[in-house]
């Protein structure tokens, strides 16, 4: 009997030695004359347990966590026990970390071979597209609207309204653009999805094309994700061979194809209009709105620009119904959120839950507190433009409105944990420094404000006329918030002011 072994090929798993473990499993099996099939999957998202090696058994998949090269022979010696072995974690599906989740978008990630279209179909893939092919474009759009799906890139704009605008924008050339320029620190869900289940993104883009009458899609992927690029390139070829993409979608629909484009290291290209400029071959400089990209987007044509996770949620919505999706979540945040736990956290990774879990449940419950074992001091939610929240605000729910109400933002769902050694005045300085590095330069508040911000923070840190410089800081951040062209300059004050509001003592420390 062939032993089936699943080992992640996800970049995070590789970063702690998954390839070496996979090679060792094959070599050890050959040495012992055991027939083994090693299947490379995405990551289940329990990143602190990577590489997580799973053995198929009649009861389900048995997991062995944080296996290192050199330990594989021991697993063979022990006969892959469910319990007792120091690396054994039992049945993977029974792990609390997975059982507490509602995995819709990430249902197949870590389970299947990401490049097997057969496995994709066998695990529910293409069911949404099959439904969509039987619907009129307006019916698809109204389903997406009824699901309550909001853009996962950060702004949270209702996807249905955006799609409706593009659908209503005449009969000419239109485009679907997938924003995979996942630049926010603390976020890795797009990467994990593309590396672990690229077909669900492809399927979502095809459905979007059917819905608005677009025949061409682009994925704009950041250059910092070389493995995701390789996987997606191969997946696009497989999808073309399998008839999912091409002259007629699944042999029944209109034409749709997708082109993969790679970014060139500019954070601002995650802003949708800068992304469009970059796709057109220019500097990634933000465009003024209006016109909305939905009416005049890529090459001036009506364009849906959606985040990876927004598009990847669509196949599930089509397959299971808008009501089923809308039944999850709280308030105006419907469906599931891919929470990404990073930074100084004991159990970091990705978990997908309906909107509404509290930050405390995420950081302390799921994450187990800090990796250093010291107290949690601050949590930054939503990337480099997100607020730093103190312990007293950890009971805030992870959903758009609740975070906005406490002066923060959900962003792309990244949660970065800091222990009590963090200097929040330095973090505030970094927010300006990052903005100065990555500003596109089009509007003055952002281009000049960020540089002034670094200077003001330096004076505050050095104890130079603190009271007066704090006044300048307040003035500067007000200007940037009110007058910047896009979120880069407009939201940089968020981490700065939240650090100042919640951790004022760090701005008044004695110098030296």
């Amino acid at each position: 009997m062939t032993l089936r072994v699943f080992i992640p090929g996800d970049a995070a798993a590789l970063s702690v030695g998954a390839d070496a473990v996979a090679r060792e499993v094959a070599a050890e099996a050959a040495r012992r004359g055991v027939l083994v099939e090693v299947i490379r999957t995405g990551s289940r998202g329990l990143l602190w347990l990577e590489p997580l090696v799973e053995m198929a058994t009649a009861q389900g998949r048995l997991g062995f966590g944080a296996v290192r090269a050199g330990e594989v022979a021991g697993l063979f010696d022990a006969g892959f026990p469910a319990q007792g072995h120091p690396r054994a974690v039992g049945l993977v599906e029974d792990l609390g970390w997975l059982r507490q989740q509602t995995r819709l978008t990430f249902a197949r990630v870590g389970v299947t071979d990401p490049l097997s279209l057969g496995a994709y179909r066998a695990h529910g893939g293409l069911a949404g597209l099959e439904v969509a092919l039987g619907l009129a474009p307006a019916e698809i759009v109204s389903l997406v609207a009824a699901s309550g799906l909001r853009g996962r890139g950060g702004a949270g704009f209702p996807a249905g309204i955006k799609w409706q605008t593009v659908l209503g924008a005449g009969d000419g050339q239109k485009y679907i653009v997938c924003n995979a320029d996942e630049g926010d620190s603390g976020t890795f869900a797009d990467r994990m999805l593309i590396e672990g289940d690229p077909f669900v993104l492809i399927e979502g883009m095809v459905i979007a094309g059917l819905a608005v009458g677009a025949t061409k899609g682009f994925v704009y992927l950041r250059s910092e994700y070389p493995l995701a690029e390789r996987v997606l390139r191969q997946a696009l070829a497989v999808a073309r061979d399998g008839g999912v993409l091409g002259a007629s979608v699944l042999g029944r629909g209109p034409a749709f194809d997708i082109e993969l484009r790679i970014g060139a290291g500019a954070y601002i290209c995650g802003e949708e209009t800068a992304l469009l400029e970059s796709l057109e071959g220019r500097r990634g400089v933000v465009r003024a709105k209006p016109p909305l990209p939905a009416l005049a987007g890529l090459f001036g044509k009506p364009t849906v620009v959606n985040n990876v996770l927004s598009l990847a949620a669509v196949p599930w919505i089509l397959a299971h119904g808008a009501e089923a999706y809308a039944a999850l979540g709280v308030g105006r945040s419907r469906g599931t959120l891919a929470v990404q736990l990073g930074g100084n956290v004991r159990r970091g990774g990705l978990f997908e839950v309906p909107f509404g879990m509290t930050l405390r449940a995420a950081v302390e419950g799921i994450g187990g507190g800090t990796r250093s074992g010291r107290p949690v001091r601050a949590v930054q939610v939503g990337g480099p433009l997100g607020a730093y929240l103190p312990d007293s605000l950890l009971d805030t729910a992870l959903e758009y409105e609740a975070l906005a109400a406490v002066g923060g933002m959900l962003g792309h769902g990244g949660v970065v944990v800091f222990d009590d050694t963090v200097d929040m005045a330095r973090q505030a300085r970094f927010a300006f420094e990052f903005c100065a590095k990555e500003s596109c330069g089009k509007c003055t508040p952002c281009r000049i404000g960020a540089v002034r911000g670094v200077e003001v923070m330096d004076r505050i840190l050095q104890g130079v006329e603190r009271a007066r410089n704090l006044e300048v800081l307040a003035d500067l951040t007000t200007l940037m918030t009110d007058a910047s062209l896009c979120a880069m300059g407009g939201l940089t004050p968020l981490p700065v002011l939240s650090a100042l509001r919640h951790f004022p003592e760090d701005f008044h420390r004695p110098v030296g």
Binding site: S223, P226, I262, G265, E280, R282, Q340, G342, G348
Partner: protein, 156 residues
Amino acid sequence: MSRFTAWDSGEARAVLRPHGGAPDAVLPMLQALQARFGFVHAEAVALVAEAVNLSRAEVHGTISFYHDFRSSPPAGRVIRLCAAEACQAVGGAALLAAARVLADGGDVVVEAVYCLGNCALGPAALVDGALVGHLDAERLAALVQGCAVAAVQVPR
């Protein structure tokens, strides 16, 4: 030991040819040139401009906007170390400072990068196209000394 071809304008033209002549091919063209030669040579500006019928100023503007494009070949192995918040939270800034000291004067290039998407397993670096997690001073030193990425990908 360079993975790159020495600059040659004839070869550069051949690299550009499959990309056609539409202006939106500028980024893919520049990326193809850098993949072949290790950097975007000053002479490439005119070649790309001619291929897509843009002014040299426009092409130069595009090149200078993006952090990825180099104007000279890298001195050696490039270590891209994450300097963003999630890695800062686990000592990334000190590691970056240490890396710069270690690499000073040698043939290794240390660059700060803002997020590699390995935020739960930081500090992280990207070396030779591969991600390294849970980086510490000792393994960083090994990377600077030319150690294979696979050898340092496994902490403990």
